[in-house]
């Protein structure tokens, strides 16, 4: 039996945050209901095609899944259970934002089998929250957190964001201190990236360039300050008992997010919903980002042949040939060559503090890692950016600071 990670996307938000470039938008309840209906079709279809897989983690992300009526989430979970075989100990997460969660919703999630909550906080400073365009205050977050604990959630993640306009290391230290007092099991600490097409880009694009070049900035933290913030995050969380297991992720022992790790270890994952990306048996593809095209195409799924993925004329093979029964559901397909798989294995694996094992490499590619990367490994070791010992290859602390520099070397 093979394992599968399932990602379920809900693109709806009360309002779009100033920095956000994810596929999310506000929509009326009719559109939401139509969307969920299409999503259920998609889940059923893949369930029928992927009987030899067992789902080991589920992640409902967004958008703001918690903004939807609880019944919709329950119906999604219900359809997942009916369509797929889900393991007993599956990790099932849902993202929620303060201000959209009620005790009743949380109770419904629990009943639907959801056992992990990821709360999008970003900052404990109300001014910063306002600047980001978040719809909630820190106090609302505290309420949500309390509701979650009361509802029986014992695995909670809090999302934080550093590198915000006007932020200093001291100010971010306050946010960290307040969070560790709450003792969530998991903390994700991302760095703000000024993405094209966002209001933040218009406001801060010049500063972002200066920051990247190591020059003096006007509003965003300088590169040196951003570096201090990143090191401070590592230090404070480590002292509070959170291990850094990936560039941006920290967890109490035993609480590392399995779904997240699956991405870095290149497990098969199926993304359903608008714009969701999948990687199944080394084929990557993504769904359309056009909600009307999505709804329209999902309606037609029930008439497609429900064949196992590698049977003749199966959806995946057809997908790989670029002809998906005339459906525009998928917008991109990338069949990973062996070299692409090797590259991914390294640059994704090295995001984790544990790195990769030589044994895994050999098992996957039938040759020792040195056969491909001897010079790269030796070079990075000389620069003290990489450790290679006890059958493991991983980045040093400084290597993590310079992760892009290191990872780029593993590309062919």
């Amino acid at each position: 039996m093979k394992y599968l990670e399932l990602y379920i996307h809900t693109p709806f938000c009360v309002r779009k945050c100033e920095y956000c470039d994810f596929l999310s938008f506000a929509a009326d309840s009719r559109t939401q209901a139509q969307y969920i209906h299409a999503l259920l079709e998609e889940i059923r279809f893949y369930g029928a095609c992927m009987r030899e897989y067992q789902v080991s983690t589920i992640y409902i992300g967004g958008g703001t899944p918690s903004w939807l009526d609880a019944e919709l989430i329950v119906s999604v979970m219900d359809t997942v259970y009916r369509s797929f075989s889900v393991t007993e100990d599956a990790e099932i997460s849902i993202e929620c934002n303060p201000g959209t969660v009620t005790a009743a919703k949380l109770a419904a999630y629990r009943r639907a089998g959801i056992n992990r909550l990821s709360i999008g906080l970003q900052s404990c400073n109300n001014e910063e929250l306002k600047l980001l365009g978040r719809i909630h205050t820190y106090e609302q977050f505290l309420k949500t957190y309390e509701l979650a604990r009361n509802a029986g959630f014992t695995n909670i993640n809090v999302d934080l964001m550093s590198g915000l306009p006007y932020q200093t290391a001291d100010r971010f230290a306050d946010t960290l201190q307040q969070i560790i007092r709450l003792k969530p099991e998991h903390v994700s600490a991302y760095t703000l990236i000024i993405e094209k097409g966002t209001p933040f880009y218009e406001k801060y694009k010049f500063d972002a360039v200066k920051q990247e070049a190591g020059m003096k900035t006007d509003i965003l933290p300088t590169e040196d300050e951003a570096y201090r913030i990143y090191k401070l995050t590592q230090h404070v969380l480590k002292k509070a008992g959170y291990g850094q297991y990936e560039i941006s992720n920290y967890a109490k022992p035993g609480y590392a997010c399995r779904h997240n790790i699956g991405y870095w270890t290149r497990d098969n994952y199926l993304g359903v919903g608008l714009g969701a990306a999948s990687m199944i048996e080394n084929v990557r593809y993504a769904n359309t980002r056009d909600i009307y095209a999505y709804i329209e195409n999902c309606r037609k799924l029930c008439i497609l042949p429900q064949k196992a993925f590698f049977e003749e004329d199966s959806p995946l093979l057809r997908q790989a040939e670029g002809d998906w029964f005339g459906s525009n559901l998928h917008v991109s397909t990338d069949i990973l060559s062996r070299n692409a798989q090797i590259e991914e294995f390294m640059f994704l694996g090295l995001r984790m503090t544990e790195g990769v094992t030589r044994a895994d490499f050999e098992r996957n590619f039938g040759m020792p890692v040195e056969a491909v990367y001897r010079e790269v490994i030796e070079g990075l070791k000389r620069e003290q950016l990489l450790l290679s010992a006890e059958g493991r290859i991983s980045l040093t602390e400084r290597g993590m600071d310079l992760a892009n520099y290191c990872m780029a070397k593993f590309l062919f």
Binding site: L192, Y227, Y230, M279, R351, D401, Y405, L411
Partner: protein
Amino acid sequence: MSIDQSKIRNFCIIAHIDHGKSTLADRIIERTGTLTSREMQAQVLDNMDLERERGITIKSQAVRIIYKAKDGEEYIFNLIDTPGHVDFNYEVSRSLAACDGAILVVDAAQGVEAQTLANVYLALDHDLDVMPVINKIDLPSARPDEVIEEIEDVIGIEASDAPRISAKTGLNIDEVLEQIVTKIPAPTGDANAPLKALIFDAIYDSYKGVIVFCRIMEGSVKVGTKIRMMATGAEDLVTEVGYFGAGQFIPCDELSAGMVGYIAASIKNVRDTQVGDTVTEVDNPCAEPLPGYKKVNPMVYCGMYPADSAKYPDLRDALEKLQINDAALQYEPETSLALGFGFRCGFLGLLHLEIIQERLEREFNLDLVTTAPGVIYKVYKTNGEMIELTNPSNLPDPSEIDYMEEPFVSAEIMVTSEYVGAIMKLCQERRGVYISMDYIEETRAVLKYDLPLNEIIYDFFDALKSRSRGYASFDYELKGYVRSELVKLDILINKEMVDALSFIVFKESAYERGRKMCERLKEEIPRHLFEIPIQASVGGKVIARETVKALRKDVLAKCYGGDISRKKKLLEKQKEGKKRMRQIGTVEIPQEAFMSVLKLDED
């Protein structure tokens, strides 16, 4: 088969850049039915991609057109397109020598420009009858009456009956065609005399070998004729003759006096055919070659290196092929500590350099590193010896140098009166020596300056355009050598001297140039894991310094699962950047950095 010479018209079109030369050529070709408009791609004659993109003509091209005139006779027009940039004066002169007349295109809005004058004088030098045409009369700002007056006053040729046309819309093109018949003289030349043909262009074809484009002045040539190139002495049997369709070669039996066409003679050695040379028959040679042939001398030099050193032979082959129809291109092998094996190449000017560089990259798929262009300096040594320096690295030790000379040009700049001040200031900044200023009419002046060539090869043309809002035009010719205080400016990156970045500079400009160079390199060189000092030095003394800070953080903390393709693209971009790097010691320098001295005046 012989063709009645009186029914042939050999002509070219001359114009200032952007006055519509190529568009008119297109219209003539289209109107005479050589191509249907469906087959027409805009600007047929400019058939190199590069020419279309830049909207300029780089190489001469020729096309044969059949025109049925109002007198009921059919005429053969041979239209020879000429390059339109000052860098290519020699090629222009050879193309003109192949013609009997010229159509002068003048923009109805802009009127006579410096290059219009330069080209007309060149045409008159070759005894061509010049027939003016007023173009772009569809523009709201067109002032054809004034422009006609200007042509008569400034150039001194009759223009009252010049066709007023719009090459863009096709208006009055028929009038141009009729005037070609009536105003441009038919060729003369004895078809029975010994063969005498002028090479005005040549291309290399991998099947036919070198194909020379020529104008038969006297005599005739056909398949089997044994020909000789009079300047280079090469001899070979003719395998094919023919004329030019639009974009294709059409073989024929014979080319005779007055005709324009091509000769293929399985000539394999590309150096044997030089533009301007005379072709004659071995068994019945003409008494003397046509006048005007000269070996053109490059004025600007730079080093060209393959980005991938394994591509050195490819670069050599590519240069050899380009040289065949570009007599002005010169090259010889050289070695750089920083860049490995490459070539020191000589060009007519900076545009010529850029064009060759782009052609090498596009047509031959080569990735190049180019060093800063320089001119030929004359170095007089204390032992009485004089060397011509084209590569700054070869400058002898200062103790061995008595003095140095640099080339100066006589420049003519035509500018409207409101920008005279700005242009004079520019010339002074570039160490120009004022010669004269004449108003050719109330609002327009011709400024004459002597300028050091090395001050104009970088970006003078751009600066001229930007300071005159595009109204100034510029022409120059080499004047001679002048003694000058010159020094070699060296660049040290991480304490190592990078030979490919050295250049010769006027002593008083050294500090300023060195400082700007360091600033520019600081922007170009990516951050490394360690700090990198960048220094400019003259004679071992550091005169400017900048530092590239060490890289501390390079991590993209935000990356959700589905984003993996995007993440990879980002890493690939980073990696791709590395590919274009040169390793100097422990420092990786992007290839663009070697050209960065060119952009010192952009702010």
